[in-house]
């Protein structure tokens, strides 16, 4: 057990891992490259982009000026932030309340109801598009934040996530609070919420990202220019005949930046969020 043999052992293991390293490096580069290219293209002129330049240029400011001249960028950024934030807050409240109810008050009937709700996972978005559009326009909600959030406030995925994670909620805390005469709703706010903070964080990350990225439904109900979201804005940019690649990629960068920042800061929560309901 001296130092020397262990060292050769380690380098032997590393030697055998060389193919793994090569493969992982290639896949990593492919994964990162399109985003890196987006970054560089945002700083170049459209001619430079077309010529295949893959290093940073000096045209960022001009691209920005062209972009805000053509599109109401900050309006769309503001809209996207507003819709996604409201969506996240409302969705988390409604779904966590339900997850809590299904798990900690569970009985035969609630379990059966839960499995019925899960069937909603099978409902394709495009199938409900027309009836929902008719419903929302009849309620005169087109171009409002409510039209944006209504169909995805309550999702089986989120309810399931909170239900699964509620299993870790200590039941004795609940019992003790009841004996102290706390009301059921107070227990939810004062006990459940703080204890389940990490689940809320994961759920918030995933919900915010999903609603920031939503495209089909907003395209149907947020027709008004002043109501448009970032994904809609960049889709408009790319539909012109003469595309200014530098400007367009700057738009794409603006659209991607918030979710990429969230990804880097809260990667653990993001990973937990997407796999959250599986455990």
């Amino acid at each position: 057990m001296t130092e020397a043999p262990r060292k050769t052992n380690v380098s032997h293991i590393q030697l055998r891992l060389i193919p793994s390293y090569i493969f992982l490096i290639i896949v990593s580069l492919i994964s990162v490259f399109p985003l890196y290219w987006m970054l560089t293209a945002a700083t170049n002129t459209t001619v430079e982009v077309a010529r295949g330049k893959i290093w940073f240029g000096t045209n960022l400011l001009v691209n920005y000026q062209n972009l805000i001249k053509q599109q109401d960028l900050w309006r769309a950024m503001g809209n996207s932030f507003l819709y996604s934030t409201v969506q996240t807050v409302v969705c988390l409240f409604v779904c966590s309340l339900a997850g809590y109810g299904f798990e900690l008050y569970h009985d035969k009937h609630k379990d059966r109801l839960f499995s019925i709700l899960l069937l909603a996972m099978m409902v394709p978005q495009v199938a409900t598009l027309i009836p929902l559009f008719m419903m929302v326009s009849k309620m005169k909600l087109l171009n409002t934040v409510w039209a944006f959030i209504l169909p995805s406030i309550s999702t089986p995925f989120m309810i399931m996530m909170f239900r699964q994670n509620s299993r870790n909620f200590p039941v004795d805390v609940l019992e003790a609070a009841r004996i102290d005469g706390e009301s059921e709703l107070r227990i939810f706010f004062n006990m459940y919420f703080p204890i389940m903070k990490s689940t809320y964080a994961a759920a918030a990350v995933i919900t915010f990202m999903n609603s920031w990225n939503a495209y089909m439904w907003p395209r149907v109900v947020m027709k008004d220019n002043s109501a448009q979201t970032m994904p809609m804005l960049i889709a408009n940019l790319s539909n012109g005949y003469a595309v200014d690649y530098g400007m367009m990629m700057l738009g794409v960068l603006f659209c991607s930046l918030p979710t990429i920042i969230i990804f880097f800061v809260l990667q653990k929560q993001f990973a937990e969020g997407i796999t959250g309901s599986v455990k």
Binding site: I54, V94, A98, A120, V126, A127, L150, I234, T275
Partner: protein
């Protein structure tokens, strides 16, 4: 103390439980189940939104579907994406997860982050990025001409076969890391001692992978399979923003076609679009059921 009459403590708890799950339940019924029923009813009707009448004969929309070459193309495309992309992606995702689960590997966190990064990108964003990369004057063309693989710039998105290939490549790029995360968390639940035991029994890496890892990952494989099938059958953003269904609707997906028939291009054909969307619903349900059944053989 016990001033409240009528409701006992237990009954009050019961009522609270039901109250907690009521908003979410109502919303799912009103925003998912009821629209599904509505869509089914509308699928037997014709006319625009304000003026829906029963079709004559009632199954007219469904009969029309049988003769709709474009829908058959859309269905064929969607299945092509499904059959080619999903298996490649899942195998790649398992492989990457397996490699990254090795404790001796250095920079695991860095690799994981980089491979995972694409799924932080909005669907519209990455569709536009790939559209630009594969444009006739795009970077991929410059590179391929530069190193001599292509003689002149090729219009990847102007040819049905290569346009479909670009969509598949883009999908692989966006979703492989996403699925890898599921497999990684699945692998971390497998006890290390299981592998130790296999090693003592003299199993090689390949055998260990097939006889231990894959069976233990089966629930995760079934779940990622269902999610991927579900997602691919509903492909929309990529078809709209990468190829716009083109050239000449040869790469269009089912959801994109339904959208074009209802709310997209000024053709408000709600009845027919609803009939088409009901087919998507049935396909999603049937394929998910098959997947669950196949995944269940272990028990």
């Amino acid at each position: 103390m016990n001033k409240k009459k009528g409701m006992g403590l237990l009954a009050r708890q019961q009522a609270a439980g039901w109250a907690f799950l009521t908003p979410a339940t109502l919303l799912i019924f009103v925003m998912s189940f009821w629209p599904m029923v509505r869509a089914f009813i509308i699928s037997f009707q014709t006319g625009s939104a304000a003026n829906l009448k029963w079709a004559e004969p009632v199954t007219k929309n469904y009969q029309r579907m049988l003769q709709d070459k474009m829908f058959q193309t859309a269905m064929g495309n969607t299945f092509l994406y499904l059959v080619i992309q999903v298996p490649i992606m899942l195998v790649l995702a398992i492989l990457l997860a397996q490699l990254l689960n090795n404790k001796d590997l250095k920079f695991r966190g860095l690799f994981r982050t980089m491979i995972f990064l694409p799924c932080a990108t909005a669907l519209v964003s990455y569709a536009i990025i790939f559209k630009s990369l594969f444009a006739t004057q795009g970077l991929i063309n410059s590179a391929l001409v530069g190193i001599g693989i292509l003689k002149e710039n090729y219009n990847f998105l102007g040819n049905p076969a290569s346009a479909k290939a670009v969509i598949i490549i883009a999908l692989l790029w966006r979703w492989t890391g996403y699925n890898m995360v599921f497999f990684l968390s699945g692998l971390q639940n497998i006890e290390y001692s299981v592998y130790e035991a296999a090693k003592i029994d003299g199993a090689n890496a390949w055998k260990t992978f097939w006889n231990i890892t894959v069976p233990l990952l089966k629930p995760v494989i079934v779940m990622t399979g269902i999610m991927s099938i579900n997602g691919t059958l509903q492909l929309f953003d990529e078809s709209v923003n990468l190829t716009n269904g083109g050239p000449a609707n040869t790469t269009i997906t089912m959801s994109h076609y339904i959208y074009n028939n209802s709310l997209g291009q000024g053709v408000a054909n709600f009845g027919y679009a609803s009939a088409l969307s009901f087919i998507v619903f049935i396909l999603v349900a049937v394929l998910a059921a098959i997947n669950l059944k196949v995944g269940d053989t272990r028990d």
